[in-house]
C-alpha cells in the first residue's frame, strides 16, 4: 500500500528556471539595485554573493480583495475580562477587527523585497554590454611568457625523456619485420627435415644440408637485437608562447586636503567597478594602491581610502612611483597594466606638464588602459587641460568628469562600452 522513494539525489534546482524568469522580468530594477550596491563592497571582493533589494510594490501580484471598513464580526479566543455590551476603543493604525495577517511578524518591513544573487549573476548584470578595450592587442603582444607542452615524439633526446612503451612497440615491430621471412623459411626447412626423417631411408647428405641451413637461419634470427638505438623514442616538448593572464591595476588617488571623504567614496566606487571588471577577464589581478599629496606612497586598501592627509598636491609624484613599481615588479611584457587615476583636479600648476609628459613618454606606452576621472563640480584646471592633449594621441587614454555619485556607473560604462567598430 505504501512505498518509500528516496528523492534526495534528485536535482534540487527545480526552481532555477522560475528564478531566472524572475530575474529577467525585473532586470531593470535589479540592475539599478546592483549599481547602487557597489559602494558597499570591498574593492577586491569577488567571492561573496550580493544582497539585492528591489521595491516590493513593483513585484506585487495584484488581486481583488476586501478592504478595510464595513461591518465585521470576529470571534476571538481567550476571553479574560469581557461581558456582552463591553465597549472597546478601536485600536489605532488600522488595527481592524479582522485585519488578519496584516501585521508582519517577520520583524522586517515589507517595503523592500530583498534576496541574494550569486557573484556570477551580479557581475553579469553589472558588466552587461561592456568589454575591455584593447584586449586583442594585448593577446598578440604578450607572446613573451612560455609554457612547456608535450608535442609528439622524436628519435633523439635525453635518457630521462625516453618513452618506454613507444620504444618497445617500435622494437617489436622491427623484430617482426626483420625476422618474418626467415621464420617462414625456417618452418619450411623444418617441415622438409621432418618429412625426410619419416621416409624409410633418409639421405644423410640432404639431412646434413638441411640441418645446417636450419642452424644458420636460427642463428640469424637470434642476431636480430631485442632493442636497438634505432627503436628509441623520446618525448618531445615544445615551448609555446602564452598570453599573459595576469593583470595589475594601479589605483592612483589624490589625498590632499581638498579631497574630502565623499569625493574619495566616489573614487572608491569607480575602483571597485574597475577591479571587478578586470578580474573577470584575467585569472590573476593584483591591485597597487598609490596615494599622493606632495609625495606619493604605496599603501594598503584601508589606508588608501580612509586615512586623512592634508597638504598640497603634486600629481607627478604618483606617476613616478607607479613607473618605478612597474619597472621593479610588473614587467610590461608579463603583466597587463591598467591604471585609474582619481583626483579633484587640483595640481601644482608647474607639475601638470610634467604629468602629461611622463604619461606620454613612459606610462602610456606600456599600459593597456589609463583612465583619469576628475571628481569636481568646479571648472577644470591645468591637469585636465594637459591631459586633454593626450586623448588625441593615445587611444588607451581616457578621461571623464564625475560630478556626483550617480555619474559613476554611466561613466564607467562609457569607458568600456562595446565598440562596434574596431
Amino acid at each position: 500500500m505504501a512505498h518509500f522513494i528516496d528523492r534526495r539525489l534528485n536535482g534540487k534546482n527545480k526552481s532555477a528556471v522560475n528564478r531566472q524568469r524572475f530575474l529577467r522580468r525585473y532586470k531593470s530594477q535589479i540592475k539599478k539595485a546592483v549599481a547602487e550596491s557597489i559602494s558597499k563592497r570591498s574593492v577586491t571582493d569577488t567571492e561573496s554573493s550580493e544582497n539585492i533589494s528591489i521595491p516590493s510594490r513593483d513585484i506585487k501580484e495584484p488581486i481583488f480583495h476586501q478592504g478595510k471598513g464595513g461591518n465585521r464580526d470576529r470571534i476571538l479566543p481567550g476571553n479574560d475580562q469581557f461581558i456582552p455590551g463591553d465597549k472597546i476603543k478601536r485600536p489605532e493604525g488600522g488595527g481592524q477587527g479582522s485585519g488578519d495577517g496584516d501585521a508582519s511578524d517577520s520583524g522586517e518591513g515589507q517595503d523592500e523585497f530583498s534576496f541574494s544573487i550569486s557573484m556570477e549573476e551580479y557581475l553579469n548584470l553589472l558588466f552587461d554590454d561592456l568589454e575591455l578595450p584593447n584586449l586583442q592587442k594585448t593577446e598578440q603582444k604578450q607572446e613573451v611568457e612560455f609554457e612547456t607542452v608535450r608535442s609528439g615524439y622524436k628519435s633523439e633526446g635525453i635518457p630521462s625523456s625516453i618513452d618506454i612503451v613507444r620504444s618497445l612497440r617500435g622494437a617489436q615491430g622491427r623484430r617482426i619485420a626483420l625476422t618474418a621471412s626467415k621464420k617462414k623459411k625456417l618452418k619450411e626447412l623444418q617441415k622438409q627435415l621432418a618429412e625426410l626423417m619419416l621416409s624409410a631411408t633418409p639421405d644423410p647428405r640432404i639431412k646434413a644440408q638441411l640441418e645446417e641451413q636450419i642452424e644458420d637461419l636460427e642463428r640469424r634470427i637470434k642476431k636480430v637485437p631485442f632493442i636497438d638505438t634505432f627503436d628509441l623514442r623520446y618525448r618531445n616538448f615544445e615551448k609555446r608562447p602564452k598570453p599573459s593572464s595576469k593583470a595589475v591595476m594601479f589605483c592612483l588617488m589624490d589625498v590632499s586636503g581638498s579631497m574630502d571623504q565623499s569625493t574619495k567614496d566616489i573614487a572608491k566606487r569607480f575602483y571597485i567597478l574597475l577591479y571587478q571588471f578586470l578580474s573577470r577577464s584575467y585569472k590573476n589581478t593584483e591591485v597597487v594602491f598609490i596615494r599622493h599629496h606632495t609625495q606619493a606612497k604605496e599603501v594598503d586598501e584601508q589606508e588608501f581610502f580612509y586615512s586623512q592627509e592634508t597638504g598640497g598636491t603634486i600629481v607627478s609624484s604618483a606617476l613616478y612611483l607607479m613607473d618605478e613599481i612597474v619597472q621593479q615588479r610588473y614587467p610590461a611584457n608579463q603583466w597587463n597594466i591598467y591604471a585609474a587615476q582619481a583626483s579633484d583636479g587640483d595640481n601644482w600648476a608647474d607639475d601638470s606638464p610634467k604629468c602629461s609628459k611622463l604619461l606620454n613618454d613612459k606610462i602610456l606606452n606600456y599600459s593597456r588602459y589609463f583612465s583619469y576621472i576628475e571628481i569636481t563640480n568646479r571648472s577644470h584646471q591645468t591637469l585636465w587641460q594637459e591631459y586633454q592633449g593626450l586623448t588625441e594621441r593615445h587611444d588607451n587614454f581616457a578621461m571623464q568628469n564625475i560630478k556626483q555619485a550617480s555619474d559613476i556607473y554611466p561613466i564607467f560604462r562609457e569607458f568600456f562600452k562595446k565598440q562596434t567598430s574596431s
Binding site: R7, S15, F64, R72, P77, F113
Partner: protein, 510 residues
C-alpha cells in the same frame, strides 16, 4: 481503550536517526492501526527529500510539477531567504491530493517526526482527500499529476511558439483573477489526461467558432437580431475565468487554453481552502490517536511519545487574543479539539451534550467521526459540531466592529446567551464567499461597443480593495474591449469603481 494491550511487545527503535528499514516498520504499524480505525486511503507514495527540495516544492504551490512562471521564482526566492535568515522553519511535510497520494518527508526529521508525519499526512490527510464530499466531487486525484504534466507541456509549447513574454502576460492576468476562477455551485466534470488532450484540439476549434457566432457583425435576419438584443449574459457569471475562456472575443485558441489551465488549477485547490480546519483537525486527531495507540501497545518507547507530544502540543497550541503570537484562530487547534470533542460527545455525553447534540450523543463514535469528516466543509462543520463546552474551553467571544460605531463592542461571550451567536459567527468566518470579494459579470454590450461590466456586491458594506486600476488592466487584457467595474448604491444607483482604459473625467457619484 478498545485496543488490546499486547504484553511484552518489543518496542521499535526510537532513533533519533531514521533508516529506511525503520520507516518501513513504523509505516506498517501505523497502517495496521489506521485500518483498525477504518481510515480508507489512496495508496501512499512517500518521498524523502532534502530541505532545498522542500523549498522547491513550496514555490510551486506544493505540486510536484507545475508550469514555469516568474511568480514561482519569486516565491522560491522569498522562502529561500526567509529560511536562510531563520525567519521561517520549513513544514515537516507536504502532502498532495493525488492517487497515489504523494507525501514529502524531510530528511532532517527524526524518526519520531517521520512517524508523526506518516500518521498525519499519509493516513490523516490522505483519508480526508479520498472521502470528503468536496474533494470527491471537485477534484480527481487520479488525473491531477497527468493534468499538470499536460499543462506544463502545453504552456512550454506555447512559449516556444508565441514567445515567453506573450505567454507570461496571459498567465499574469489569469493569476490575478485566479480566485474568481472557481465554480462555487456547479459541479465540475472529471476528465482524464487522455481525454483532456483529445478534447483540447476540438475544443479550441469549437470555442473559436462559438465566439465568432456571438460577435458576428454581418447583418442577420430579424429574428436573430431580437435574440441578440436580449441581455448577455442572461444571468450574472461568477466564474470570470470560465466566462473569458468561453466568451472573450479576441483571445486566440491557445490563450483560451491557458485561461482554462489556470482555472482548472484554481478549482483543484478550492476544496482545500474550504476545509482547512477540518482537514488539519482530522489529520491531527489521527496522528494523535494512532501514535498513542502504538504507545498503549508498547510498540513505541516513552522517549518517542514524549518527543511526539512535545511537537503535537506546539502544533495545536492556541494563543489567546492578547498574546503577542496571536494571529487568528489556529485551524489545527480548533479542528483537533472539535474531533476530540465529537468522540467525547459520543462516548461520554453529559446533559448539555444530549440537549445540543441529540443525534450523536451516545452513538458509535467512529461512525460519527467518519460521517462528520465525509459530509461537511469548515463552515457547516463548525455550525454543526462546535459544542458549548468547547466554546468555554477556548473562551470564545465575539467582537463587533461596525463602521458607523465609534467603539468596538463585545456582543457575545461563552455563556448560555452567546453560544448560538458565537457558533454562527465563527462558522461564517470560514465561509469563503464572505471572505473573497463577490465580483460577477453582469453585462456585455453585445450590440454596442462590446464593453464588459463587472459588478462588485459588498458583503456587510465591506469595500473592495486592491489596486483596482491594475486589476482592470488584467481584465481588459483578457476581454480585449472596454471593461468597467460598478457597485450598486443603496438607492439602486450604480457607481463606477474603475474603468479600463482609464477615461479622463469619469463622472463619479458620491
Amino acid at each position: 481503550m478498545t485496543a488490546k494491550k499486547k504484553q511484552k511487545a518489543q518496542p521499535l527503535s526510537d532513533g533519533p536517526e531514521w533508516t529506511f528499514e525503520l520507516l518501513e516498520a513504523y509505516q506498517n504499524e501505523i497502517k495496521r492501526v489506521a485500518e483498525y480505525y477504518r481510515l480508507d486511503t489512496y495508496p501512499n507514495q512517500i518521498e524523502i527529500i532534502t530541505s532545498e527540495q522542500m523549498l522547491d516544492a513550496y514555490s510551486s504551490v506544493g505540486m510536484p510539477l507545475n508550469y514555469n512562471h516568474w511568480s514561482f521564482g519569486k516565491k522560491f526566492i522569498e522562502s529561500e531567504q526567509n529560511y536562510k535568515r531563520g525567519f521561517m522553519g520549513l513544514a515537516y511535510e507536504i502532502v498532495i491530493n493525488s492517487d497515489p497520494c504523494i507525501s514529502y518527508l524531510m530528511e532532517e526529521n527524526t524518526i519520531t517526526m517521520q512517524a508523526l508525519v506518516i500518521a498525519h499526512a499519509c493516513y490523516g490527510h490522505n483519508s480526508f482527500f479520498k472521502n470528503n464530499y468536496l474533494f470527491k466531487t471537485w477534484t480527481d486525484a487520479g488525473s491531477i499529476i497527468d493534468y499538470l504534466l499536460f499543462a506544463r507541456n502545453y504552456i512550454e509549447q506555447c512559449e516556444q511558439k508565441y514567445g515567453v513574454e506573450e505567454v507570461e502576460e496571459i498567465l499574469d492576468s489569469c493569476h490575478a483573477l485566479m480566485n474568481l476562477g472557481v465554480d462555487r455551485y456547479k459541479r465540475p466534470q472529471k476528465i482524464s489526461m487522455f481525454e483532456e488532450q483529445k478534447r483540447q484540439t476540438e475544443r479550441a476549434e469549437y470555442l473559436q467558432s462559438q465566439v465568432n457566432q456571438l460577435w458576428r457583425t454581418i447583418p442577420q435576419k430579424a429574428a436573430e437580431t431580437k435574440i441578440k438584443s436580449s441581455k448577455f449574459p442572461t444571468e450574472p457569471q461568477e466564474n470570470l475565468l470560465y466566462f473569458f475562456e468561453k466568451n472573450a472575443p479576441l483571445l486566440a485558441p491557445w490563450q483560451r487554453e491557458i485561461v482554462r489551465i489556470v482555472r482548472k488549477v484554481s478549482q483543484y485547490f478550492y476544496p482545500q481552502k474550504q476545509t482547512q480546519v477540518m482537514n488539519e483537525g482530522w489529520a491531527s486527531y489521527w496522528h494523535y490517536t494512532i501514535l498513542n495507540h502504538l504507545f498503549d501497545e508498547g510498540l513505541v518507547t516513552e522517549r518517542f511519545i514524549l518527543e511526539f507530544l512535545h511537537s503535537h502540543t506546539a502544533v495545536v497550541y492556541q494563543p489567546e487574543y492578547n498574546h503577542p503570537g496571536f494571529s487568528g484562530i489556529n485551524p489545527y487547534a480548533i479542528g483537533f479539539a472539535m474531533f476530540k470533542d465529537i468522540r467525547r460527545i459520543c462516548e461520554a455525553p453529559d446533559e448539555e451534550d444530549k440537549l445540543w447534540f441529540p443525534d450523536i450523543a451516545g452513538s458509535n463514535w467512529l461512525d460519527t467521526m467518519h460521517y462528520a469528516m465525509e459530509n461537511f466543509k469548515d463552515e457547516s462543520f463548525i455550525a454543526q459540531f462546535l459544542s458549548p463546552r468547547l466554546m468555554r474551553e477556548f473562551k470564545l467571544f465575539n467582537l463587533q466592529d461596525y463602521e458607523d460605531n465609534k467603539m468596538l463592542e463585545v456582543t457575545a461571550i461563552h455563556n448560555e446567551q452567546g453560544y448560538r451567536n458565537i457558533r454562527q459567527k465563527l462558522a461564517s468566518q470560514y465561509n469563503l464567499s464572505f471572505l473573497e470579494p463577490n465580483i460577477q459579470v453582469i453585462n456585455v454590450d453585445v450590440n454596442g461597443d462590446r464593453s464588459l461590466t463587472l459588478e462588485y456586491t459588498p458583503h456587510n458594506h465591506i469595500p473592495l480593495s486592491g489596486n483596482l486600476d491594475e486589476m482592470m488592466r488584467h481584465v481588459y487584457r483578457l476581454w480585449g474591449f472596454d471593461v468597467k467595474l460598478v457597485q450598486q448604491q443603496i438607492g439602486g444607483k450604480y457607481i463606477e469603481l474603475a474603468h479600463c482604459p482609464v477615461v479622463e473625467n469619469t463622472i463619479k457619484d458620491n
